[in-house]
C-alpha cells in the first residue's frame, strides 16, 4: 500500500471523518466546524485550477484529433477567456467597459442560455411521460390512471373539481408514503456508506481494494 496514493488519503479520511462526526454531536466545537468549512472553500478554489487545466487539455486534444468539431473548442476557449477577463476586471467595478461587458455577457448571454436549457425540460417531460404512460402491464396502467387524474386535477374546474380533490389525496397520501419510505432507505444507506468510508471498510473511491 503506497503512502501517498492510499495510506495517507485513508488516514485523512478516517481522522477527518471521525472529527466531522464529533463536531456534529458537540456544539461547543462549532468554531472548528466553521474553520473546516473555510478550508473546504479554499480547497475548491485551488481545485478549479485543476478543472480549467483539464478542460484546456481536453479541447486542445480535440482540436488536433477531431477537426470537424474544432469550432466548439474555439467557442469554449474564447468564452472562457472573455468571461474570465470581464469578471476579473468588471465584477467589482461600478462602471467602465469591463463592467458593461460583464453585465451584458451575464444578463444577455449566460442567463438566457441557462434558461433555454432549463426550458428544454418541458419537452423532455412530455416525451418521457408519453413512454411511461403506456398501458403495457397492470402497474403501468395504474400509473397511467394516476397520472391522468393528477393532470386533470391540476386544471379542474366546475364539476371536474372532483379530480382536484382526488389529486390532492394522491399527492398527499400515497405519493408521500412512498417518498418517505424511499427517504428512510436513503438515510440508512447514507449512514452505512459514511461509516464504511470512515472505518476504511469501503476503499473503492481510493481507486482499489
Amino acid at each position: 500500500m503506497s503512502l501517498w496514493k492510499r495510506r495517507l488519503p485513508l488516514i485523512c479520511t478516517i481522522v477527518f471523518g471521525i472529527m466531522g462526526f464529533i463536531l456534529q454531536l458537540v456544539p461547543a466545537f462549532k468554531s472548528f466546524l466553521d474553520i473546516q468549512n473555510q478550508w473546504m472553500t479554499i480547497l475548491f478554489g485551488f481545485a478549479i485550477v485543476i478543472g480549467v487545466a483539464s478542460l484546456t487539455k481536453y479541447h486542445f486534444k480535440k482540436i488536433r484529433q477531431k477537426p470537424e468539431e474544432r469550432i466548439f473548442s474555439y467557442i469554449t476557449f474564447s468564452s472562457l477567456i472573455v468571461m474570465a477577463v470581464a469578471t476579473l476586471f468588471g465584477m467589482k467595478a461600478e462602471t467602465g467597459i469591463f463592467n458593461a461587458l460583464y453585465k451584458n455577457l451575464f444578463d444577455y448571454v449566460y442567463v438566457p442560455l441557462d434558461a433555454t436549457i432549463f426550458s428544454l425540460l418541458a419537452f423532455y417531460i412530455t416525451s418521457a411521460a408519453f413512454r411511461a404512460f403506456k398501458a403495457s402491464s397492470w402497474l403501468s396502467t395504474l400509473l397511467l390512471f394516476a397520472g391522468g387524474i393528477v393532470m386533470l386535477g391540476r386544471v379542474a374546474f366546475g364539476p371536474l373539481m372532483v379530480f382536484g380533490e382526488l389529486t390532492q389525496w394522491i399527492m398527499s397520501v400515497p405519493t408521500v408514503a412512498a417518498m418517505r419510505g424511499i427517504k428512510i432507505g436513503i438515510g440508512l444507506g447514507m449512514m452505512a456508506t459514511s461509516i464504511k468510508i470512515i472505518l476504511g471498510i469501503e476503499r473503492s473511491f481510493l481507486g482499489g481494494e
Binding site: 496514493k5 462526526f21 456534529q24 454531536l25 458537540v26 456544539p27 461547543a28 466545537f29 462549532k30 468554531s31 473546504m40 480547497l43 475548491f44 481545485a47 478549479i48 485543476i50 478543472g51 480549467v52 483539464s54 478542460l55 487539455k57 481536453y58 486534444k61 468539431e69 466548439f72 442560455l113 441557462d114 436549457i117 432549463f118 428544454l120 425540460l121 423532455y124 417531460i125 416525451s127 418521457a128 411521460a129 413512454r131 411511461a132 417518498m179 424511499i182 427517504k183 428512510i184 432507505g185 436513503i186 440508512l188 444507506g189 447514507m190 449512514m191 452505512a192 456508506t193 461509516i195 464504511k196 471498510i201 469501503e202 473503492s204 473511491f205 481510493l206 481507486g207 482499489g208 481494494e209
Partner: protein, 396 residues
C-alpha cells in the same frame, strides 16, 4: 439698553424652547411603559444563541411600537447583535437571537447577552428604554437533539462488528437481486458489440455528498468490467475534485485488470461548474458520440431528465441511480434500469462481493427492521394519543 433687551429676548426664547421640549417629552411619556422581558440561554448550541421573550403590558393605544435590541456582552452600539421593531398586538413575542461574533468584533463568541426594550415612535426610533435583562450563555458538550442519531450509529456499529465477524468466519449472506446491477455486464457488452463508448456521469454533486462517493465506489467495478472488453469509458465531471478522484479510480481499475495502456487521463475530464451548462455539454457529447451505454449514478437535480432523455434518444442503454427523491421518478420514466434510493449505496458491495461490505449491508437491513418495528409501535401508540415514540425517539 437695546442690547440688554435683545439678550433678554434671546434668553426667554431659549427658556421657552426648553420648556416646550420638556412638555413634548412629557406628552410622549404621559404613561408608564410596562412589559415583561426575559432572556434565556438557548441551550444545545455553542453558547451563542439566546431566546428573548417580551410581553407588552401597555395597551396598543398607549404604545403602538416597541424596539427590542439585543447586545453582546454590554449595551453599546458596537455590540448590537440584533434589533426588532415590535407592533403592540397584546401578545407574547419570542425571538431567537444569535450572538455569533461579527468580523469587526475583536472578541470571540460572546458568553453574555443583554436585551433592552425601548418605547419606539412611528419612525422606528428608540424614544425611551424601560426594560433591561441579561443572561450568561454556555456552550453544550452534547447536542441532545442528536441523541437518537447517535444511538442509531452505535447500534449500527454493533451490527457491523457482528456481521463482519460472521463474514470472516465464512458465513454467506443472502442479498436480493438488483436488476439494474445485474444488467451491468449486458450494458457494457452491448456497447462493446456496437463499438460505441460508454459514458459514466457521477452526478453534479461535490465530494461532500455521499451519493457522489457511492457513485465513485461503483465506478471502480464498472471500470474493471470495461477494461476486460477494452471499450472506451468517458467520465465528464462538473466538479474538479470529483474529477481528480475519478481519474485515479479509473486508472486503478484499468491497472487492476492489467490494462494500464487503456487509461487516458483525457477521458475523465472537467466540463463546467454551471448546472445547465454541464447538462447542455453532456447532451451535446451524447448526440455527437452516440454512446452505447450511459451510467447516471450520483447526485442529480433538475438536469437528470435532460441526460436521461438525450441518452434514450441516441439509443443508449441507461442505468441510473440517485438519492434525490424528486429525480427518481424521472429516471424510472426515462431509463432502462434505475437504482432506487438505497440501492445506489448498496451497489458497491453488490458488485465487489467483498464480505466486509456485504456484512455492513446486512447491518443496514437489521437497522431498517428495527426502524420499521419502531414505526409500527409509534403508529399504534399514537392511535391511543401516546406520542412517546414520535416525540422523544424518532424526532431526536
Amino acid at each position: 439698553m437695546k442690547r440688554f433687551v435683545y439678550i433678554l429676548v434671546i434668553i426667554s426664547l431659549l427658556f421657552s424652547a426648553g420648556f416646550a421640549e420638556e412638555a413634548e417629552n412629557n406628552n410622549e411619556l404621559d404613561f408608564t411603559p410596562k412589559g415583561k422581558l426575559e432572556i434565556k440561554d438557548k441551550g444545545n448550541d455553542d453558547g451563542t444563541g439566546v431566546n428573548v421573550f417580551f410581553r407588552p403590558q401597555n395597551k396598543p393605544e398607549e404604545v403602538k411600537y416597541y424596539l427590542l435590541r439585543v447586545y453582546y456582552k454590554s449595551v453599546s452600539e458596537d455590540n448590537l447583535a440584533a434589533q426588532y421593531r415590535i407592533e403592540n398586538k397584546d401578545r407574547r413575542y419570542k425571538f431567537n437571537v444569535s450572538l455569533q461574533k461579527r468580523r469587526k468584533h475583536p472578541y470571540p463568541n460572546s458568553r453574555k447577552g443583554v436585551a433592552r426594550v425601548y418605547v419606539s415612535n412611528e419612525k422606528g426610533e428608540a424614544v425611551k428604554a424601560f426594560l433591561t435583562e441579561s443572561t450568561n450563555t454556555s456552550a453544550s458538550w452534547f447536542n441532545i437533539n442528536k441523541l437518537s442519531a447517535f444511538m442509531g450509529v452505535l447500534l449500527f456499529l454493533l451490527f457491523v462488528y457482528i456481521f463482519i465477524k460472521q463474514a470472516r468466519r465464512g458465513v454467506e449472506f443472502f442479498i436480493r437481486k438488483i436488476p439494474g446491477l445485474e444488467e451491468l455486464d449486458n450494458a457494457v457488452g452491448r456497447a462493446t458489440e456496437l463499438g460505441k463508448p460508454i459514458y459514466y456521469i457521477p452526478g453534479i454533486g461535490t465530494t461532500s455528498r455521499i451519493a457522489t462517493l457511492a457513485s465513485l465506489n461503483i465506478l471502480a467495478p464498472v471500470t474493471r468490467k470495461v477494461a476486460k472488453f477494452a471499450t472506451p469509458l468517458k467520465v465528464p465531471n462538473r466538479d474538479p475534485v470529483v474529477m481528480s478522484i475519478a481519474q485515479d479510480v479509473v486508472k486503478e481499475g484499468y491497472m487492476a485488470e492489467g490494462r494500464p495502456d487503456l487509461f487516458n487521463s483525457n477521458d475523465v475530464f472537467f466540463l463546467t461548474r454551471q448546472q445547465f451548462a454541464f447538462a447542455g455539454a453532456v447532451s451535446g457529447l451524447f448526440k455527437r458520440e452516440k454512446p452505447g451505454a450511459v451510467f447516471l449514478l450520483g447526485k442529480f437535480y433538475a438536469e437528470s431528465l435532460i441526460f436521461a432523455e438525450t441518452a434514450n434518444d441516441v439509443g443508449a442503454i441507461q442505468i441510473a441511480g440517485t438519492d434525490s427523491v424528486s429525480q427518481i421518478p424521472f429516471f424510472i420514466a426515462a431509463c432502462d434500469y434505475t437504482l432506487i434510493g438505497e440501492e445506489l449505496f448498496a451497489a458497491s458491495g453488490y458488485l465487489s462481493g467483498d464480505p466486509l461490505i456485504v456484512g455492513t449491508m446486512k447491518a443496514q437491513d437489521y437497522l431498517k427492521a428495527i426502524l420499521i418495528v419502531l414505526l409500527f409501535i409509534g403508529i399504534i401508540l399514537n392511535i391511543f394519543d401516546i406520542d412517546i415514540i414520535t416525540k422523544y425517539i424518532l424526532q431526536r
